[in-house]
């Protein structure tokens, strides 16, 4: 067997199999080293696995960056109690397409990651909630799950370990809010995709009122590598507070957009210049949205200084989020970005809590009025105030996700918004 068919655990944690042709086939994945860790983990004490994950410092890759080991620590240790492991594959944050890239080429890395995690957590049942639009990916996943069942890696008494784990792929119907973990749970329960009040948190009372862990695709897919190479090796990458590697989805005005696995803490400018081969057509960099549509925008100046880890981005006023980098060059209009952001969140608010339901609609209306040439300079203040008052007061973080980028744009590009309002008034 050629070296090309072996996994590259040296340079990648998540994409270590991605160079292997047809690695979505179970045999090819397995030949390359896949499912080895699953087998090994069945011989370990589940608590040891949890400890290793905790020591690795892995942080949730769905957006909030909550330490996975800590979340798992809140979970019931009673192995007989009915509990669930849900994989969040709803990936709907604009700019984000890393889970899709991971899954469509290598679905088994997620299946293996889920089996190990389920064994560690003592969950007997798991669901992969996949975004409705990801039809092809869902088919690929379903085939992988089916093959894993055939090999006896899923189902009752897996490989004689005494551990049972049933895994089901469930397709969503295309709503951003179903990516929010409790919205996801409602949807999976057959209800409208509306987030639930917290507390209780899913780890205590989740799917069907039972303890439930929800993790992002990338989070779960990192587990086999951590078990193979160890927490210490994982921490060699990244920073102290942001260990490991991360998938970055890079879109916008670069010469080579795509998904890259890079160590956390990498300078943003290095990502753009080296991995994405620079801003397109030699244009000047104008701004970067560093963590998906919810993340406040960076001006070029800040973008050139920031390092891509949770703490540095936060310190500079934005967030790493899902690791979706949207690069904007000098040809782009900031009001366009704002309009598109406001439309998106207005459309996606589930509407149950008042500040979000009314605020998302109101912000869009204020902008649209300005677009019609009926704006006032004071509308910028109003927009900022509405956004401010949508923050930290709602059931889920969608309200914040709509408010933060709005306030971010006002802060970074107020001048451009002011001239936009004036120009639209003149052109009326």
């Amino acid at each position: 067997m050629s070296i090309a068919n072996k996994a590259d655990y040296q340079n990648f944690t998540l994409l270590s199999y991605h160079h292997i042709p047809s690695v979505h086939h179970l045999e090819i994945f397995e030949e390359a080293g896949g499912y080895e860790m699953m087998k090994k983990c069945f011989t370990l004490d589940p608590e040891k696995i949890k400890e290793e994950v905790k020591n690795s410092g892995l942080r949730g890759r769905g957006g909030a960056g909550f330490p996975t080991g800590v979340k798992w620590g809140f979970f019931s240790k009673d192995r007989n109690q009915r509990k669930y492991l849900l994989c969040n594959a709803d990936e709907s944050e604009p700019g984000t397409f890393k889970d899709r890239y991971l899954l469509e080429i290598n679905p088994h890395i997620l299946v293996e990651g889920m089996i190990i995690s389920a064994f560690a957590l003592g969950t007997q049942r798991g669901y992969i909630y996949i975004r409705g639009e990801f039809y092809e990916q869902a088919m690929i996943l379903e085939k992988a799950v089916k093959d894993a069942y055939k090999r006896g890696y899923l189902g009752k008494n897996i490989l004689g370990s005494g551990f049972d784990f049933e895994l089901v792929v469930h397709r969503g119907a295309g709503a951003y809010i179903c990516g929010e973990e409790t919205g996801l749970i409602s949807s999976l329960e057959g209800q409208k995709g509306r987030p639930k009040l917290k507390p209780p948190f899913p780890a205590i009372k989740g799917y069907r009122g039972l303890p439930t862990i929800v993790n992002n695709v990338e989070t779960l897919a990192a587990v086999p590598w951590i078990m193979r190479c160890g927490a210490a090796a994982y921490k060699k990458w990244g920073t102290e507070k942001s260990p490991g590697t991360k998938l970055f989805s890079i879109s916008g005005d670069v010469n080579r957009p795509g998904v890259f696995e890079l160590p956390l803490g990498i300078p943003l400018i290095e990502v753009i210049e080296k991995h994405c081969e620079g801003v397109r057509e030699g244009n000047k960099l104008k701004a970067v949205i560093p963590g998906g549509s919810s993340a406040p925008i960076f001006t070029a100046e800040i973008a050139k200084e920031v390092r891509m880890d949770y703490e540095d981005i936060a310190q500079k006023g934005s967030m790493l989020g899902s690791g979706a980098i949207i690069v904007l060059d000098e040809t782009r209009s900031i009001p366009d970005i704002l309009k598109w952001t406001l439309e998106f969140y207005h459309h996606e608010s589930c509407g149950q809590c008042t500040p979000c339901r009314e605020g998302t609609g109101w912000m869009e209306k204020i902008f649209k009025r300005a677009e019609q040439g009926e704006g006032k300079l004071s509308d910028i203040e109003l927009l900022d105030k509405v956004a401010f008052n949508m923050r930290g007061r709602t059931i889920c973080a969608l309200s914040d996700a709509a408010a933060m980028p709005t306030q971010g744009i006002i802060k970074a590009f107020r001048g451009e918004l002011e001239s936009y309002i004036k120009i639209q008034m003149k052109n009326r």
Binding site: E348, C350, G351, C353, T354, R357, W362, K365, N389
Partner: protein
């Protein structure tokens, strides 16, 4: 109830702003404040429904907790200190109110809820009358008749989800839901309301989105006064209040009574006010002459019954006090029986309503027993079978009748009595034409007294305004026999 539940609950001490509270363990945090007379703006919380936490008006800060949270989604804990009077929270609440008003039509002058509207209360207090929004409001359907005498105005709805939780959790009839997302979300009527508790929706809707067809536009609420009493609609005996003023009685609403009805009442009970202020209420004794009822002197009645054999059929809806005074005054009369309303509908509907419509059967039975009289239906039937022209039969008419056929057949059997006198709270209806005389007695709202419900719990009847001759109760008519 198990023994454990009966044990008094542990008391929890906490602080809300500067006030010390002491409440039973397990109490909802917002409930604890409200029960202690602290005013906290809230729209979605209702103690009788599951927590929704959607209006975001009841936000509080707690020492040691990093983020503000809604008090309605918390339970009390020993020693906690919460505040909702900080600048941060007050600003938040004001803005959330502003968000509520954003798409609200603010048509208070033509809204039936005006005066008891949660929005109006708070925006008057917070001084937010002019919505800062010059942007167009989202328009939704105005007046929709959604069944069971309930009218929906979707534009006024603030999506607190009280009504949907009520039909999902209390009646389990699921007629209402919320469809669409964001600010296009609205109440959708999946099917016409078809439950026996629909008027509670009008009570719990914090704004004028759900109003009662029965009450709509009849009175401005600030012209009404409430009298607390007990529903006489069935043996459940729900605690209620009746809204009235000098021109009449207008509606009945439940009062919280954890032992009997909790937070609700049924739609039958909503109708018990209807006869109180009808224009035809008796103003004094009446005689049936030339096919109509005319005022008559008491002496004429006295004269007529003098030589007769006096018999009485009481109703099972009088107060304990009335039975007592009756049996005291009519000690010498041996022929006394009881008419019981027949059972109607399911024995118990699983919520409140019961088939036995006699609101004070237990009180009646107790009084009969004490007086050595027979309250059984057999005794009453026997009396009816043996009536003769020598008898003067006095019938205390039931105040509320459900089964009119049964009632008519009862009335048809009294005709053998030579003289027939009705003691009634009612007006002069045609079905009384078989009586020679009518005597007015007070309605349930025109007397002080008690009844005993199906659980053997005593509940009070209170005296409100009177709209007819109501100064003499059944026992007071004894002077006719002296």
């Amino acid at each position: 109830m198990s023994e454990v539940e009966k044990l008094p609950k542990k008391m929890i001490k906490l602080k809300w702003n500067d006030k010390d509270l002491e409440v039973p363990e397990g109490t909802n945090l917002l409930g604890a404040a409200l029960n202690n007379g602290i005013k906290v703006a809230h729209y979605c919380y209702h103690p009788g429904l599951a927590v929704a936490g959607v209006c975001r008006m009841c936000m509080v800060e707690q020492q040691g907790v990093p983020r503000p949270f809604p008090a309605c989604n918390a339970v009390v804990a020993e020693g906690i200190q919460v505040r909702n009077d900080t600048k941060q929270i007050k600003d938040a609440v004001e803005w959330t109110l502003q968000f509520h008003l954003l798409n609200h039509p603010l048509d208070c002058p033509i809204c039936d809820q005006a005066g008891e509207c949660g929005l109006q209360d708070y925006y008057m207090k917070h001084g937010q009358y002019d919505s800062a929004m010059i942007d167009k409001k989202v328009h939704k359907k105005k007046v929709q008749d959604i069944g069971c005498d309930v009218v929906l105005d979707a534009e006024r709805c603030i999506l607190c989800a009280r009504c949907t939780r009520f039909v999902d959790d209390v009646t389990k009839t699921h007629e209402l839901g919320i469809v669409n997302r964001g600010d296009h979300a609205e109440i959708s009527v999946q099917k016409e309301l078809h439950n026996d508790y629909a008027q509670n929706l009008v009570d719990i809707c914090p704004v004028g989105a759900l109003t009662s067809k029965d009450f709509r536009f009849k009175q401005r609420v600030w012209f009404l006064e409430d009298v607390e009493s007990t529903c006489i609609g069935c043996e459940t005996g729900c605690s209620v209040k009746i809204s009235q003023n000098k021109s009449g009685a207008y509606r009945v609403r439940p009062i919280v009574d954890s032992e009997v009805n909790g937070f609700w009442m049924c739609d039958d009970g909503r109708k018990i006010y209807k006869h109180l202020s009808t224009p035809g209420r008796l103003v004094g004794p009446m005689v049936f002459k030339n096919s109509m009822f005319l005022p008559v002197a008491e002496s004429e009645i006295k004269e007529k019954i003098k030589s007769k054999n006096i018999k009485f059929i009481l109703s099972a809806g009088l107060s304990n006090e009335e039975y007592q005074s009756f049996f005291k005054e009519f000690k010498n009369i041996k022929n006394i029986t009881l008419y019981q309303l027949p059972k109607t509908g399911a024995e118990f509907d699983g919520i409140l309503k019961r088939a036995d419509k006699n609101c004070n059967l237990r009180g009646a039975q107790k009084a009969f027993k004490l007086a050595g009289a027979d309250s059984s239906e057999e005794a009453m039937k026997k009396m009816l079978d043996t009536l003769t022209s020598q008898d003067a039969l006095f019938v205390v008419m039931p105040e509320i009748v459900y089964d009119h056929d049964n009632y008519a057949s009862f009335l048809s059997k009294i005709k053998k009595a030579g003289l027939r006198v009705a003691l009634t709270t009612d007006d002069m209806r045609s079905e009384f034409s078989d009586f020679h005389f009518l005597l007015p007695v007070p309605t349930f709202l025109e007397k002080e007294g008690h009844i005993i419900n199906y659980q053997n719990k005593e509940r009070k009847l209170n005296k409100g305004r009177s709209y007819g001759a109501s100064d003499r109760n059944v026992g007071d008519w004894a002077h006719l026999f002296h």
